[in-house]
């Protein structure tokens, strides 16, 4: 037996990836996946701030029926930029590119991703794409909505001049996403350590893998569609422009062929994070590992064959509508499998009410609401009534923000001590969560009511006597509460860097490999390839008061060690 009560590895701040080399160039040209992940994180959070400002502008405008702060053109730009920035610059890259880059190779016990140079290139492609996207504000403005629907986006007399820069930006961001996905697939295939079979991988890696498959297969379709849109607008090639023999609805088909799978690009990694959060903070073996793993693959596969449910009102044949409606309902099965398994994992678990766990549970609550309201929109008859109303806005915010972004925030809280080597203030984290959670539901639950009462989306004003104003006021107050919660998060994260308690190697009691290296990890992650055990068997760990972290139990052999008894 190993009688050494040491932590998994002694934390040290003298030789970690943050201090390994110094200077601007050592970051700008780094090939270290951890630094690239951190650079993505900072960039994505900056974009989130920008997208959030536009969201607050939109909400403030709707406080009064006649609109409070903008004219209608400015309002169109505000919601377009909010959507475009949040989807393309924030939610899609947040978990895979930022957290995935940081965690994935360490979880595999690898030194880096399969193609480190390609990884750095992906980051700079993201930066270039972001510059194009933001430039669209100054390059004539953008008011098409984040979907760039034709024929509006190709009409020189209506849509603003920022369409081509924004579309070019989205095109470049797409290739950043593709290269990241390719990198992760090859990394998972080629750099898994000895003993880590497919069904011994952490579930986060399964979800990242399923996401990467979607990125590789679906994103090029968006790429060529957006390229054709830009060329159509610039030269009039007659693909989407009906006056030149093109078909505007064709754009919707190709756009949603990508953009529906993109919903799963956003949410699958968050589901992977939640699987980790629920298991680690419940200190209980994940329930139904293989079901959760396969459900990620099933969701990825279903994602390719449901795009038509975005187009029930576009004049598709009734038969096609019925088929898409039926397949859409099928997505509920693997999604529910995940939810049931998370709940079963928590059942009789020793739940630690840490901030990441709160976000994990918040995810389940909000995802269930987002998923169930999706059934109303997947049903043909109710969709006709609810189409283009605030019900749709509420639904996709419950899925994209309430689920995908909450998962990301939960993951950020979970891996922050590993990234920075410092603990944040737990009490502040819990208060921020409560504020965020209440504000979130105030903002978006009211929008279900607005939508079912007939408030259309994308309107800058509304009739004073329609009974919408009270809902809008509650929604706007909720958005301000969320903004305060986000600023609180920023404050305690930043203060933790300078004054936080030093984090143990394993502060939460995780078993996957990232918890076996120091916090923050050394430059090469592991001096030698670590041995792999069951990454959800928490019974071998115990809390160590001295290090304020979890350590290996003295009476249990570590993987790869022979018993001394």
């Amino acid at each position: 037996m190993t009688g050494d009560p040491r932590p998994l590895e002694q934390p040290t701040l003298t030789d970690n990836y943050l201090t390994y080399t110094r200077g601007f160039l050592s970051w700008a040209l780094t090939l270290d996946h951890k630094r690239i992940g951190l650079m993505y994180l900072c960039s994505v959070l900056l974009a989130f701030l920008l997208g959030g400002i536009f969201a607050l502008l939109v909400r403030t405008q709707l406080l009064v029926p006649e609109g409070l702060i903008m004219d209608q053109d400015d309002y169109n730009q505000a919601f377009t930029l909010h959507g475009g920035i949040m989807v393309f610059l924030v939610i899609i890259p947040s978990t895979p590119a930022a957290l995935g880059n940081f965690v994935l190779p360490i979880m595999l016990g690898a030194k880096d991703v399969a193609f480190p140079r390609l990884n750095l290139m992906s980051y700079y492609l993201w930066v270039i794409g972001a510059i194009f996207m933001v430039y669209s504000i100054f390059g004539g403005g953008l008011d098409t909505g984040w979907t760039f629907y034709t024929p509006y986006s190709i009409d020189q007399n209506s849509a603003m001049g920022g369409v081509i820069p924004a579309v070019t930006g989205a095109f470049i961001l797409g290739f950043s996403s593709i290269f990241t996905g390719m990198n992760f697939i090859v990394t998972i295939h080629r750099l898994r350590p000895k003993g880590m079979t497919w069904f011994r991988m952490p579930l986060f890696l399964w979800s990242i893998y399923a996401t990467a498959v979607i990125q590789v297969l679906a994103t090029p379709v968006l790429g060529i569609t957006l390229a054709l849109l830009a060329v159509e607008r610039a030269f009039g090639i007659g693909i989407f422009d009906p006056t030149l023999g093109g078909d505007p609805v064709l754009y919707q088909h190709f756009f949603w062929f990508y953009s529906h799978p993109a919903v799963y690009i956003m949410i699958l990694p968050a589901m992977g994070i939640v699987s980790e959060l629920i298991a680690v903070h419940s200190h209980r073996h994940i329930f139904g590992y293989s079901f959760i793993a396969w459900s990620s693959v099933a969701i990825a596969m279903f994602s390719f064959i449901v795009w038509g449910h975005h187009m029930f009102t576009s004049g598709q044949s009734p038969l096609v509508n019925v088929v898409f409606s039926f397949i859409t309902f099928s997505v509920a099965i693997p999604s529910a499998v995940k939810v049931f398994n998370w709940l079963a994992t928590m059942y009789k678990g020793a739940i630690s009410w840490n901030t990441p766990m709160l976000y994990g549970m918040g995810f389940i609550f909000l995802f269930v609401i987002g998923g169930l309201t999706g059934l109303y929109l997947g049903t043909l008859s109710t969709d006709i009534h609810l189409h283009d109303t605030y019900f749709v806005v509420a639904h996709f915010h419950y899925v994209m923000m309430g689920s995908a972004l909450i998962g990301f925030i939960g993951g950020l809280h979970h891996w922050w001590p590993k990234m920075i080597g410092k603990m944040y203030n737990e009490n502040a984290g819990r208060v921020a969560f409560v504020l965020f959670f209440i504000g979130y539901n105030m903002t978006f639950f009211t929008q279900f009511m607005l939508g079912s009462h007939g408030m259309p989306r994308r309107y800058a004003t509304y009739p004073a006597d329609a009974g919408f104003q009270m809902y809008h006021i509650i929604s706007t107050i909720g958005s301000y509460m969320m903004a305060i919660a986000f600023f609180m998060m920023a404050a305690y994260f930043i203060s933790s860097i300078f004054g936080g308690r030093r984090a143990a190697a394993n502060p939460w009691g995780g078993r996957s490999l990232e918890w076996q290296c120091t916090s923050p990890p050394p430059h090469d992650n592991f001096s030698e390839q670590p041995e792999v055990g069951d990454c959800y068997d928490f019974s071998v760990l115990r809390w160590d008061e001295a290090t304020q972290g979890y350590v290996w139990r003295e009476d249990v052999d570590r993987p790869g060690e022979k018993s001394h008894a």
């Binding site: 080399t21 390609l118 593709i178 390719m182 590789v216 054709l228 693909i239 023999g245 430059h523």
Partner: protein, 210 residues
Amino acid sequence: MTAPHRSEKQGREGVRGVYAREEDRVAAGSMGLLLLLITLGMLFGALVLVVLAVRLNDAAWPKDLPSLPWQTWISTVAIVGVSVALMKAVASMRRGSDAGVRTGLGIAGVLVIIFTCMQVWAWLSWYDAMPQWAAATQSHRIGVMGFWVFTAVHITHVLGGMVPLGMVGWYAVCRSWTVSRQGLLHHTAIYWHFLDAVWVMLLLTMLLVL
């Protein structure tokens, strides 16, 4: 622990530390290439599909559209030749014949230049001929614009393929072959075979559909 010197740090920053053996690196590269080709296959497939959808929904498609410029056929011969020359280079590498590799790569390089020049010439001819078809194709613009779209998307990938071709050409001139560089030669050949197949698919689409 003493901090390593800067040069040592930079050495450890390199990508070689990720793989235990050079062969592993080549195998990872092969998989990466496969994924890249799947991605590009989706891209070109979507391109053909979108044009096909427009064409098939157009009941009044004009019958007297211009035929493809003659330079297109020379381009076709050239790009098929690139594939053949690269096959010869790879085969020579396996036999250990440096001269064969250099010959194969040299021929491939010349043919790529011919392909590119012919494309530019074909575009100029097409541009000159466009005004006479303008009226007939006003409401079927993809009939004449499709040529631009297909060839432009393809040639961006040809230009991209010139980079690894230039790199392996340089290695051949220097006679400096490692396991990784041999792998790059093999991957370059596969990429150009792919471009060849895509060209044939686009050509058939232009002939049969547009």
